[in-house]
């Protein structure tokens, strides 16, 4: 029933405005400009990035507090509007939650962004080369992907956390080097399909080297959806970072991250329940916006794929 109703509406409704195609990227930009949800999500994420980058400036000039500055006299203060630094209340040491949240944003976004970049570089390289060359190299890549998929990621991060003390940069690299599996699978599948196409054969016939073939002809055709997957990956890595920092094996105090702020908050559930809301909400909003951007970009880049690639459940 629903189907026939849709058909009728399209038939009777005003003719849809069609814009002459002007290439993949400019088409995508046009569609994005007409997608308020994605634009809003993009705006929120950019806002977070700006806030994170300007954390030092804001802390010094607006909140007048450093993230580690303690003030025992005003500990356990509920959120209030007296002074800017008290907006989100204070923890057991009287540290400003608002300022710590700013610096947490810096860690989370850096780890998520840089980790996803690592994942894209590894995943795209491994996937395209495996799909193009096939043979033993393909077997190795598939074996690596299956193996890494068979180890619960948090357990693996835990063992690394026991053996090494993780700074944000190595942590991001580590998360990225465990998070490339989905991107690799997609890139590999696409390369296998594309390498049989005529234009690849044509390129090979005129003497195109394998490297050039992969860089100039294969990768650009895969890239659009890789960007979508990367957005989703940033979100998943932010979730993974917060989870592993929450159990105490990720970003270590005194460096605040949204995850280790929640570790702290969970110890004072009875006394200061307001402490657990802002960091968790910050993670939720950031990840939600990244997923929405991913969804919007996917629809913008390739409307035919609507609904096909989406955030999978995170394998935190």
């Amino acid at each position: 029933m629903a189907t026939s109703a849709t058909v009728q509406r399209v038939a009777v409704g005003a003719p849809e405005y069609r814009r002459a195609s002007a290439g993949l990227w400019s088409d995508a930009a046009w569609r994005l400009r007409h997608d308020p949800t994605t634009l809003l999500a993009l705006f929120v994420v950019l806002l977070f990035v700006v806030i994170a980058l300007g954390a030092d400036f804001l802390a010094a000039n607006f909140f007048h507090r450093a993230f580690s500055q303690q003030d025992i006299l005003s500990s356990y203060e509920k959120p209030n509007t007296d002074e800017a630094w008290r907006w989100l209340g204070t923890d057991e040491l009287g540290r400003s939650q608002a300022v710590r949240l700013l610096y947490g944003a810096r860690v989370s976004l850096f780890v998520g962004g840089f980790g996803a970049l690592t994942a894209v570089v590894i995943g795209l390289t491994a996937g395209v080369t495996a799909g193009y060359f096939r043979g033993w190299w393909d077997d190795v890549v598939v074996w690596l992907v299956t193996t890494l998929n068979s180890i619960p990621r948090l357990y693996l991060l835990l063992i690394v956390g026991v053996l090494w003390r993780l700074e944000p940069l190595p942590f991001a690299l580590l998360l990225g080097s465990l998070g490339w599996l989905g991107i690799c699978n997609y890139a590999r599948g696409q390369s296998i399909a594309l390498r049989e196409r005529e234009y690849i054969l044509a390129a090979r016939t005129v003497g195109c080297s394998p490297v050039r073939l992969m860089v100039r002809h294969l990768a650009p055709n895969i890239l659009p959806l890789i960007i979508v997957l990367a957005m989703i990956e940033i979100g998943q890595l932010i979730l993974a970072e917060s989870a592993i920092s929450f159990i105490g094996f990720g970003i270590q105090p005194p460096t605040p991250s949204w995850g280790n702020m929640l570790t702290n908050a969970s110890q004072y559930l009875g006394k200061a329940p307001y402490l657990i809301v802002p960091p968790g909400l910050a993670v939720l909003i950031t990840v939600l916006c990244l997923y929405l951007i991913g969804d919007g970009l996917r629809d913008a880049l390739d409307p035919r794929l609507r609904g096909s690639v989406g955030p999978r459940p995170r394998a935190a």
């Binding site: 068979s150 619960p152 053996l163």
Partner: protein, 319 residues
């Protein structure tokens, strides 16, 4: 079918080998010395004692030989002794697995029980408010940090209102598996860990149902006068569910990883909490053993998933 299972089991061997190799390399290539870890906190040890222990453990051998020796030990189910509990690591791990399985299996039931109806509703009411609500719930469910949801649950339902227990498996002085008290303690962890699956399942199922519902045989079923409910239950759902079985792999992976976090939040004495506590006390054999056992369980569930997939859809063959 027997051949299928055999081939699938053989395929798991290189994966298992990879898991073991990675765990081994992580422990040996780390800057922390295993001898140091074993003697952690022990101050009255001379460097000669260290060398002796190093030799006794075979740590002065080349890496490949160490690896083979280690595999040989594992083959005899020797995962080493826990440094903290002074008991075989494997025993500690096996004791905790039933507790974790209670959560995971119940969570699977809850996920399927809630996720499938939601997916069918979303597809049948496409474009209506129900569909949009389910989509919003689904996106939120993907984006919410599990442990934060757990903390919120504890805060609202255990700390501020005393409706549910704060954590652990039984109330103090109660010790039972099949009783109301246990169910009471299970509600929080199971609900929280199910969220990821409940968010994921409707999304996949919706696409599949929409795909199947436009097939000719569904039109035939309708035109022969079958009631809509019967069409959906018999012809649509049964076919739409086939690809959904593959998504169970990801859901199981989430449960396994999630157990580490959820058991910490709800103080549930399962494999996750054991691993966490072992990690805190640098009890390396237990952490290593837990990773191996968790991976083996995961590989086994993948195999079970593939068998189930082949069973519901005979067209599937092992690649």
């Amino acid at each position: 079918m027997g051949r299928f299972i055999a081939r699938r089991l053989v395929q798991a061997v290189p994966t298992l080998f990879g898991v073991l190799l990675l765990t081994f390399l992580l422990s040996r290539l780390s800057p922390s010395d295993p001898v140091q870890l074993m003697l952690y906190g022990n101050t009255e040890v001379t460097s000669e004692d260290r060398e002796q222990l190093r030799h006794a453990l075979g740590l002065d051998q080349p890496l490949p030989i160490q690896f083979v020796q280690w595999l040989w030990q594992l083959a005899h189910l020797d995962f080493g002794n826990s440094i903290y509990y002074h008991r075989p690591a494997l025993d500690l791990i096996l004791e905790r697995i039933p507790n974790s399985l209670q959560i995971s299996l119940l969570a699977l039931v809850v996920t399927v029980g809630i996720g499938i109806p939601l997916g069918v509703i979303a597809a049948l009411r496409r474009g209506r408010p129900e569909d949009h609500a389910i989509r919003i719930f689904s996106v939120l469910g993907h984006a919410i940090p599990e442990f934060w949801l757990g903390l919120l649950f504890v805060l609202t339902f255990a700390v501020q209102n005393r409706w549910f227990p704060i954590g652990s498996m039984n109330a103090v002085g109660v010790d039972c598996t099949l009783c109301f008290d246990r169910v009471w303690h299970l509600v929080g962890p199971v609900l929280v860990i199910s969220i990821a699956g409940i968010a994921n399942l409707p999304r996949i199922l919706r696409t599949e149902v929409l795909e199947v519902i436009s097939q000719d045989y569904v039109r035939t079923a309708r035109s022969k006068g079958l009631k809509e409910n019967a069409v959906v239950a018999v012809h649509v759902l049964r076919n739409a569910l086939i690809p959904v079985v593959t998504s169970f792999g990801t859901i199981l992976l989430v449960f396994f990883s999630g157990s580490l976090i959820i058991e910490r939040v709800f103080n549930w004495p399962g494999l996750g909490r054991l691993t966490f506590e072992a990690a805190v006390s640098k009890d390396f054999p237990v952490v290593q053993g837990a990773i191996i056992i968790a991976s083996v369980l995961l590989i086994l569930s993948y195999i079970l998933r593939d068998i189930a997939y082949a069973w519901v859809d005979p067209r599937i063959k092992v690649r």
